[in-house]
């Protein structure tokens, strides 16, 4: 009896303590009706809404523009092997003439987050992902300052590349709003002008 008790106790302790301390399951919930939303929230399972008779589409109605937002870019993305719209996009002017102090700061923040990682904080095409070819990114990003091709590239064509992607660069339309894209392009153009003036 004594032995039997001791052995069961010992094995119980060994089993309990040998469990991994990596917590792969979330904790239990007290009053789940207050913890989980009755309404559909972001990152819920939205796959079966239609079956439940809920017709919801977060996308704006086709052909509409939200108040205070920019007009859409007039040229669509080219089909593979075609460069017509890429060339035509040169003619689109930047709706932002100059950046206010606050906007310039914001544009710099956006540039450093979204572009600097490849094109470099100094716009020299040598961001932390490329690092002179030692980083994980194999292709050399464009040197926005110091390469005549990009210094002479009109704002509209830059917008085309940011919005639709170009070669290995992907589209940033999901990360930057239209206004933010134009702001970043203005920021790049300003930096290029400063670099040219100091030459």
């Amino acid at each position: 009896m004594n032995k039997f008790l001791a052995i069961t106790f010992l094995t119980a302790v060994v089993v309990l303590t040998s469990c991994s301390d990596v917590k792969r399951k979330p904790g239990s919930i007290y009053m789940p009706d207050m913890a989980y939303s009755r309404a559909y929230e972001s990152y819920d399972d939205h796959s079966k809404l239609k079956e439940k008779g809920i017709h919801y589409d977060a996308r704006p109605v086709a052909g509409t523009i939200a108040r205070g937002k920019e007009m859409p870019f007039p040229y669509a993305q080219d089909a593979a092997g075609d460069t017509t719209n890429y060339t035509l996009s040169k003619t689109v002017p930047n709706p932002i003439d100059s950046l206010s102090v606050v906007d310039a700061k914001e544009a710099e923040r956006l540039y450093l987050i979204n572009c600097g990682i490849c094109h470099g904080a100094k716009l020299d095409g040598n961001g932390p992902l490329y690092k002179d070819g030692n980083g994980p990114y194999a292709a050399k990003p464009a040197a926005l300052v110091g390469d005549a091709k990009y210094e002479n590239m009109p704002d509209g064509q830059m917008f085309y590349s940011v919005a639709y992607g170009k070669n290995l660069m992907g589209s940033y339309a999901s990360q930057l709003s239209k206004r933010q894209r134009w702001m970043v392009i203005k920021y790049i153009k300003n930096k290029q002008a400063v670099a040219k003036a100091s030459k």
Partner: protein, 419 residues
């Protein structure tokens, strides 16, 4: 004599020529490297397909060198000549036009080609770093197990000793003729029962309290994700800003998870993992390249072909940080207006291979931070409407070194978070 002199002359000339040509070659390759990185590297790598083909062995592939020069200088014009090799190449790479480089001379192109030849094939160069870094740090697992077993052994020993003691007493009593009292088995011994009852009461009470307090909290929650995505590699080693992927932190309630196209921004070009070995929490080694291939599967991307983003399927990441529905939390308010760093709540994410919930996200934890944290009042448009506080700071009524805590501007009012 004259023969000897002429011989030395010939020899020295020969030496000079070989030396100068070899030096010339080196200079060529060095120039070539600069030219390559300036003109070619954004679309070509030597050993890897990017926008254009890998350039290793390019000279051998082209039927004639003359054609290669013409192609590089003006690819569009050369295509029109109807050259079969060039046209096949153009179609193979989805009709992506190669930029023309009229400024490159034949010598420049030769220099680039010379450089390409000097780059070793990927298999040839021994990768020294991989083996050395592999040894995982064997952390001496916590000693609770050892101590638990020790305590148990001691408890058993003391029980045995008690039993032995009573037996001996019985023996000595027998010898001295004291009539033996019917021995009480230990499970009916009142002292034992009382002792065990108290222990059970304390342990049970402790476990119930802790369990109740942890209801609805998930501290240390570290689920396995559909893809082994390492924040350590992305945000730590490669210094990608948190907001590159979590765009919503600055703009709205949700931090937002990146859609597959954000992953593909970089992973179109990065298709293999070569960094330090990745290890799961339980010690399993993860093959980084295989995890990138999993991403390609979700994205519907076949390497070497153009990617159609509309074929992508969302990755169902397991949500870790979650607040109950009756709590309102807004990322933008904390990150944008409050200028709180991500790490203050989420811990050192940039060092986590698998993300783990660092804090319990309990109400006490929230309120504590609101009591202690000073609001970033200076140059912060969001708080410009708190005119009285600004005036008081100016007049010295409020000690500007102590500042204004979140509590002072109503950060601990119930309705701020529960409504």
């Amino acid at each position: 004599m004259t023969i000897l002199r002429s011989l030395t002359k010939i020899l020295s000339i020969f030496l000079f020529i070989t030396l100068s040509t070899s030096i010339g070659n080196q200079v060529n390759a060095q120039d070539g490297k600069a030219l390559f990185s300036q003109n070619c590297a954004s679309c070509h790598a030597v050993n890897k397909k990017l926008t254009g083909p890998a350039l290793a062995g390019v000279e051998d592939r082209w039927p004639e060198k003359k054609n290669l020069y013409a192609w590089i200088k003006n690819s569009a014009a050369f295509l029109k000549t109807g050259d079969a090799y060039a046209n096949n190449l153009y179609n193979e790479y989805n009709k992506t036009a190669m930029n023309s480089f009229p400024s490159l001379s034949d010598a420049d192109i030769d220099a680039i080609l010379a450089y390409i030849k000097t780059v070793p094939a990927p298999g040839a160069a021994p990768a020294g770093g991989a083996a050395g870094a592999a040894a995982p740090a064997e952390d001496d697992s916590d000693s609770t197990l050892v101590f638990g077993i020790l305590t148990l052994i001691l408890a058993v020993v003391s029980l045995i000793l008690l039993q032995v003691n009573s037996n001996l007493k019985k023996l000595s009593d027998d010898k001295s003729g004291i009539p033996a009292v019917e021995p009480v088995p230990f499970y009916r011994n009142k002292a034992y029962i009382a002792f065990i009852a108290i222990i059970l009461f304390i342990a049970g009470g402790y476990m119930t309290t802790v369990g109740a307090m942890n209801l609805g909290r998930s501290k240390d929650y570290q689920p396995e994700q559909p893809i082994y995505y390492s924040h350590k590699v992305h945000a730590g080693v490669n210094q990608i800003n948190c907001q590159y992927c979590h765009i919503g932190t600055y703009q709205g309630k949700q931090a937002t998870l990146p859609s597959v196209n954000v992953c593909m921004n970089c992973h179109m070009a990065i298709n293999e993992y070569k960094g330090e070995p990745l290890v799961r929490e339980n010690g399993d080694v993860v093959d980084g390249t295989a995890e990138i291939k999993k991403l390609y599967k979700y994205a519907g991307y076949t390497e070497g072909q153009p990617w159609d983003a509309s074929k992508a399927q969302p990755i169902e990441w397991v949500r870790i940080h979650n607040l109950p529905d009756h709590v309102y939390f807004n990322h933008a308010q904390h990150v944008n207006a409050g200028q709180v760093a991500c790490q203050e709540c989420h811990g050192e994410i940039q060092k986590m291979g698998e993300v783990k919930q660092q804090n319990d996200l309990s109400m006490g934890w929230c309120v504590n931070c609101h009591r202690q944290t000073k609001v970033q009042f200076k140059d912060n448009g969001f708080y410009s409407i708190y005119e009285k506080f600004h005036a008081d700071i100016k007049s010295g009524k409020i000690d500007s070194t102590k500042g204004i805590t979140v509590e002072k501007i109503g950060g601990t009012e119930c309705q701020k978070c529960h409504y």
